[in-house]
Symmetry: C2
Subunit: 215 residues, 2 copies
Amino acid sequence: MFSKEEKDAIYKVIYNRRDVRSFLPTPIPEEAIHNILKAAHQAPSVGFMQPWNFVIVSSDETKEKLAWAADKERRALAIHYEDEAEKETKFLGLKIQGLKEAPITICVTCDPTRGGSHVLGRNSIPETDMLSTACAIQNMWLAACAEGLAMGWVSFYKKNDVRDILSIPPHIEPIALLSIGYTEHYPTAPILETANWEKRRRLDDLIFTDQWNNR
Amino acid sequence: MFSKEEKDAIYKVIYNRRDVRSFLPTPIPEEAIHNILKAAHQAPSVGFMQPWNFVIVSSDETKEKLAWAADKERRALAIHYEDEAEKETKFLGLKIQGLKEAPITICVTCDPTRGGSHVLGRNSIPETDMLSTACAIQNMWLAACAEGLAMGWVSFYKKNDVRDILSIPPHIEPIALLSIGYTEHYPTAPILETANWEKRRRLDDLIFTDQWNNR
């Protein structure tokens, strides 16, 4: 059971966790990284398949390559906003990653073959392996925030670039690049909300009772 | 910043959260459900697209239909173990859902069209919408645990059965059926570990440095 104080702490981290893209070069204690990875490994997984791996990147050379892959993708994506000049400018002004600054980036992967051919639950919904990996990432995010660390999920890359850079086999999914480090200003609201890119929706509009569209 | 006590509470819920399939009929306070849904809505989402909806099912009639869909899928899946008699028996002995017992089941969905055609980040990796929804589910799980409630993720169903039962449009993904309720015995280890279905892997075996397979 959880006391009032414990509940408050749990909601505090859930409400305060933010996606961060600006990091200080300050090194991260090994214990904190270990706590974050242990939290990941406590996530639920369909059929208890634990499909995740963690590639911890700290060498400057590899970080440069990942940053190159992300920047290439950013410039390619900007082209899709070319008929909306204002949005394109806004997009190119957003800081979408801090891969070179962050002392550590963890590539979280998902192995769809783990647990054999007929994983319980995955046999019905194959993408439950990736969903399990996302649950592990959310645990990492909350743990990082609890450790006083900032984390940012980079999802601007072609998977094969990340596979090539980190020697990841072709059947393994590089789900996320997670940059971790200390930050000077931990944001109080989502960066994309502050930048007027998107608004937070009203929760009540997203809830239905018994049937879709029934409020 | 988080105090030592707050950190302990956060790791406590991450370590103690379990997938539960046995529920008491005791009603759930509305405030607890609201807290769980607010926690979901605080999850990160790519491009801040917030692709989730929540269909709260509490009518016996709808619960019966969902339980029927899950049981049909369970029996269909058992056939894939037919050449491994021992595994088939073990599989059929597992309790895979508590949809009829739980006072409430929440169907969490993902709308891939939310936020328009060029959602930031989703343009590179389309499945980031589902991954965001899984992060919301993990927040719900931790919140439910903090509220003293048990939650079980049912992933045994054909999506179109769930769409038919809950009138969900064809382009919307029913990501999970989450049963929530009080339970008599909150498990201390994963059910599939206790049932000798799968073992917990050694975390150290899942961690690489700078390159895949480099320990």
